[in-house]
Symmetry: C2
Subunit: 456 residues, 2 copies
């Protein structure tokens, strides 16, 4: 393109677009995103057809593919709604309909906003008071290990990217095997110089919770291989399995002492989209950086300032998560009750998923220890594999498409996340309401049995 004489093309009437698949940034074309793959696009089409009155073997699409809690009926936390309403319409501060601590909280937040309005830009790294609240929260979470507000950057949700693909150990409840990491790293080195290891705990799509030993091994590995460690810890409040416990990478790192504690570069991500909060639409979150080169931090701040600031409503939600009502405050009991109810409900659904799916021969589902997904393994008969191959689809994609067309259940095939050769999975959220989830799981089992029969 660059060598053609562009002005000459004009005289021939219609000409090429300026921006085409050929002239665009090629890296964009290379992006793959399993959660918006062909299955989800087909589900959207089916939904439109249902609205237009087209007859289907089902009456609604069940979105079991996306971690969107409120969309699936999870109740918002009252205190959060109250503080948000007060911050955004301060006339309500005079209303007797709001508890005093919600008003106090809103006043404190407004005080920290430029011009005392949530409509102002915040500093690029976020409102200073909220950065301080985050640091205090982390210190409390990690048993007193210090956290510097200057290392906290409020964000637009939590973004992360798996830079190295590795497999978890399905036989050991999806534990993270360092030998697997080593193999993935060696493979990557053949065509690039890996700089970052990105880990998620509790896990998506597998729902595992890493043990302390596991985390230590990952830290040693990252240190020895000179990798920057990114820890996606957005599910830190969502632990369901007995005996499972959340250990932050920061805490484990600091307790390991030298040389790790002073040298390993770590970024930890949290968000207001998950757990008992589930306020995905607010795009709130934070990053804590540890041992980051100060010159790089300055560059990061510059980059953040070009994007101006993270959304202030999301910062407010994050502040309430960091600093919830305390014992003795009027909203304390209700806040705790609502939080516990949401988490207990998620735990119930985690157990239910494991229990019902494992009733079905050919499906194996590990315990959902945390987060909000299960990643069951399914056996698929040779005829189905053959059929999928003919269609140019992965076998679990073929299964998920059939499932969607017959039942309206929309899930993401395991091949979109990566899985060991000759194994097949799907990712399913545990978010639908209990009664709906039960029906969904039974329907899934029935469909699976029928599918096996058909392709055996």
């Amino acid at each position: 393109m660059a060598n053609k004489n562009i002005k000459e093309q004009v005289v021939n009437g219609i000409r090429d677009k300026v921006l085409t698949l050929d002239t665009m940034n090629q890296s964009v074309k290379n992006i793959e995103y399993a959660v918006l793959g062909p299955i989800v696009l087909r589900a959207m089409e089916l939904e439109k057809e249902l609205q237009q009155g087209v007859k289907k073997p089902f009456t609604e699409i069940i979105h079991a593919y996306k971690g969107d809690a409120h969309a699936m009926g999870q109740k918002p936390i009252t205190f959060m709604c109250q503080v948000l309403a007060l911050c955004q319409y301060p006339d309500l501060l005079n209303s007797p309909a709001f508890p005093e601590d919600a008003k106090k909280r809103a006043k404190r937040i407004l005080q920290a906003c430029e011009g005392h309005s949530t409509g102002s830009y915040s500093a690029s790294a976020g409102i200073q008071m909220i950065r301080e609240d985050v640091a205090r929260y982390i210190e409390h979470r990690d048993g007193g290990i210090t956290s510097d507000p200057e290392n906290i950057f409020l964000s637009t949700g939590a973004t992360s990217a798996i830079m190295i693909n590795y497999y978890l150990d399905e036989e050991h409840h999806w534990a993270l095997d360092v030998a697997e990491l080593q193999e993935a790293l060696d493979q990557a080195k053949a065509h690039c110089q890996p700089r970052v290891l990105c880990v998620i705990n509790p896990g998506n799509p597998t729902g595992q919770v890493l043990s302390r030993e596991n985390i230590e091994a990952v830290i040693r590995f990252a240190y020895e291989e000179h990798l920057f460690l990114m820890a996606d810890e957005v599910y830190q409040d969502s632990i369901y399995a007995e005996g499972s416990q959340f250990h932050s990478f920061k805490k484990v790192l600091m307790e390991m002492g030298p040389p790790y504690a002073q040298q390993l570069e770590l970024a930890s991500f949290h968000s207001c989209s998950k757990g008992y909060i589930g306020k995905c639409g607010f795009r709130g979150g934070y990053t804590e950086v540890v041992n980051m080169d100060p010159a790089v931090k300055q560059q990061m701040l510059k980059l953040l300032s070009v994007r101006l600031c993270p959304p202030v409503p999301g910062q407010i939600v994050m502040d309430i998560v960091m600093n919830p009502p305390r014992p003795g405050e009027p909203s304390y009991e209700q806040f705790q009750q609502e939080k516990k109810a949401v988490l207990a409900n998620l735990a119930e659904k985690a157990h239910l998923t494991e229990k019902i799916l494992n009733k079905q021969p050919g499906i194996h589902c590990n315990p959902v220890q945390g987060a909000m997904y299960s990643f069951p393994c399914i056996e698929l008969p040779p005829k189905a594999l053959h059929h999928a191959k003919e269609l140019g689809q992965s076998a679990d994609m073929f299964f998920c498409i059939q499932l969607l067309e017959e039942t309206g259940i929309c899930m993401v095939p395991g091949s979109g996340f990566g899985q060991k050769d000759d194994t097949y999975h799907f990712r399913m959220t545990i978010l639908p309401p209990v009664e709906k989830l039960k029906i969904l799981l039974e329907k899934l089992n029935q469909f699976y049995a029928k599918f096996i029969q058909e392709y055996s």
Copy 2:
């Protein structure tokens, strides 16, 4: 770095960081952002010193550098605050304290949210109903020219980047001269293949409003040079000068007919951060694309879906801007009154700025036709130029730093935006409250007179 044996570095104790200025993405280092330059960093330091009780020749820093309306005391629009509060805490729908149309509006928005909650993710391109409201607004604005909701993408604020530097014609109220564009393009072609022309109207930093003829010339130029045109039109509601009128690039393009209307690729940006709205912290906005290659649009959608969705509270604000209360609805009068009051106040300050600054010999300020900045030209004496050169600063940077240190007024030097050789400017917002703005402008004139005396 890539060739060194990294494992060997470990045994020597402290080693290089993984992520350093050398190993990071070099494009990040190259970014320059005038609005967070040394002046603003110094202003932040001074602010801290004032808080700590350090004596200064002033008692507060006046932030005249940033277009942050609410931070400068601009009143939020009541109806918007009400709808936001209702959407985020729907229990309030039963409260008699809210007008019926605000409730109706909130219910309509909640109905369009997944799970009827603002806490859910929206579709990646934004809530469908809001995309439709945007399209209807654009059609109305442009006198009936159709707008397709599928071409509307809700965004996180409005982002844009000037890809080609060009100078406006100061002698003609900052008009856009196509000969200037041609020169800039020819220069750019020496080291790259320019694909995009980015125009802002009404203008930042110069506050000019482009005439219809000017816009037509830009469109012809972009078409002939095979450039994708990006029109930053976030100040479309902010026009103050008599005889100035906003013409959208879309409307002018469509009215120009073939070959332009069917072929020129255009993206137009709008935002909820400016004008009478000023809700910067909500990060709301939209992009309308015209004549975009459908395959590229699909890639854009994929890219947007990786970022999940724009913040829902910002989408709500945008919806109210697109679809304000109508005549006969209970909130109509108050909404119009508040909107007019904000815009009249901005217009008063635009005139005031021009008037007071032009009283001062050596300062020349063009009329602020729109947006919310003035970009006055200042004469600087040779001794000041010499002094600045010795310090390795541009002369207007030197002036702005002296001004900040002596008066607490914080502005961005013109050199940060680009200006013709041997001319000097600063960018100043017109946002401070009228009384404060008057004092600021008089103080500025006095300082300038003193500065000239000192360096003559």
